[in-house]
């Protein structure tokens, strides 16, 4: 469903991604891991069209997406969350999720301004749908709270609900478990598996190895901008290049 072909991204003289290629099929949970500065977030930003690659192609469901504007991604079926959360702080939880329903509503500007019949119905259905997603992530008790007042763990769930509200085919989760405690991480893993079982492909960038190794069907490893390995969690755990990348000189010293 997603194919990344020979993608390179440079920022001035810094090479963030160098000739990276990989692809994966629908219905999987795919993990993208690597040490700090490996270029994981850069790769994510390119797949969600925040910025285009310097070279290479990104193909989603047979369509080239690397030259498209950011706002074309949600209608195509790609949605994401952010490591440093991007919520609408002065809106309530349910309003935040309703914004995610925006592309699934049809009312034009004029109709909304004139409050023609049908607008109201659509507004109500957007609200009901939003509440469904809020229930799915378990935020129903907080639905009318301002997003700005929520704790970090709840904000992550809110971003997840908002991303799901666009009804994505591919969901990109950028360090969704960062800063979560043990219990919350466990709940998050369950949610991610539930999302996959509902038919959405999930692509995660994650530092929490327990989470990655327990839920991913496939893992891609980046180091210093290049892909160094790809495979099932078991294969990755025993891959010598991955171990060297993560533990580096330590391993060599022990070997001596």
């Amino acid at each position: 469903m997603l194919e990344v072909k020979n993608v390179t991204k440079t920022f001035g003289g810094v090479v963030a991604n160098k000739d990276v290629s990989f692809s994966f099929e629908e219905g999987q949970i795919v993990g993208l891991i690597g040490p700090n500065g490996a270029g994981k977030s850069t790769m994510f930003n390119m797949i969600s069209a925040i910025f285009p690659p310097s070279e290479g192609e990104i193909i989603f469901r047979k369509q080239r997406i690397d030259k498209m504007p950011t706002n074309a991604m949600a209608p195509l079926g790609i949605s994401r969350t952010f490591q440093n959360l991007q919520v609408f702080k002065n809106m309530t939880v349910v309003e935040n999720v309703m914004v995610g329903r925006h592309i699934r509503t049809k009312t034009g500007t004029l109709r909304a301004a004139l409050k023609l019949p049908g607008t109201k119905k659509e507004e109500v259905s957007a609200y009901d749908k939003a509440m469904e997603y809020i229930q799915f992530v378990g935020l129903q008790d907080l639905y009318d709270h301002l997003a700005g007042n929520l704790a970090l763990g709840k904000l992550r769930l809110l971003e997840l609900a908002r991303a799901l509200a666009t009804e994505p085919k591919l969901l990109l989760l950028d360090e969704i478990a960062a800063g979560l405690n043990h219990k919350e991480t466990k709940e998050m893993s369950n949610l991610i598996e539930k999302i996959r079982n509902n038919g959405t492909t999930v692509f995660v960038v994650e530092h929490d190895m327990d989470l990655v190794m327990s839920i991913c069907d496939k893992i891609i490893v980046l180091d210093q901008g290049e892909k160094i390995a790809e495979g099932t969690p078991r294969e990755i755990q025993s891959n010598q290049r991955v171990i060297t990348a993560y533990l580096g000189a330590e391993v060599e010293k022990n070997a001596q």
Binding site: S48, I50, P69, T70, N71, A72, M73, A74, P75, S79, R80, F82, Q86, V87, F88, K89, N90, M91, E95, M98, V99, G100, R101, H102, I103, T105, T107, G108, T109, A112, A113, K115, T119, E122, E123, A126, R162, T166
Partner: protein, 292 residues
Amino acid sequence: MSDFLQFSVTGITIGSIYAIVALGFVTIYSVTKVINMAQGEFVMLGGMIMFTFLGIGLNYWLSFLLTILAVMAIGWVMEKAIIQPTKGADPISLIILTIGAAIFIRGVASMIWGKGQVRVPAFTSNEPISIGPATITPQSIWVVLIMLFIVLLLYILIDRTMIGKAFQACSVNPMAARLMGISPARMSSFSFTLSAVLGAIAGLAIAPIMFPAYDTGLMLGIKGFSAAILGGLGSAPGAVLGGLIIGLLESFGAGYISSGLKDAVAFTAILVILLIRPSGILGERNVGKGGL
């Protein structure tokens, strides 16, 4: 005491107009971070186009509606012509472009309607009503009512509809809004069109009182902009408050000091308030961040 009441009535009337103009500024600014310097021109066009429609013998309320549609179209065209093609230009350049558009509109207006003032009849009879020691024209009451109506309408539109949510989302977090599939180009177009409608309504309401001319928009624009800044740029309640404060300051300045100094009194007071509260009365501290 009777003077005080009379000045208050005048101040609230003109302040309501400033408030509507300021709301126009806020509408565009909150989404695009552009200050539309042609906002006052929308107001002028509201009065002038109404005059033309009435001149060719159309019914008053039909002309009213057609005027709003005409100015709305001008706002839409303006956005398409100068904002849309300059994708990604920084707000300062866009603001300069809107100044150009304002001068252009003013020039064309002076060609079409000449340099004199035009007269537009009031909504209803213009017999002044006496309330205690003060007299008030029915049109003044209309102006205040229209301002209140616009505030209510904007509230419903922004707070109670999906498009309003998209609009808010764009102003709070443009990046996340784009990820939700909200097109910034569409929202920018929406904000200019909406703001042109606000300008037209302000122009229609004020025309019977102040007899618009081709250059009326300049001062109205400056006052409306001051009102938006005073209230805290980006805040709709602030814009209304700012408009009313400037209207009252002006009216009291004209009444108690000198009518020649009314603008000076208003602007001096604004400077003092902004020295004390640089972010405006209801402004957030982080004004100026973000944008498309």
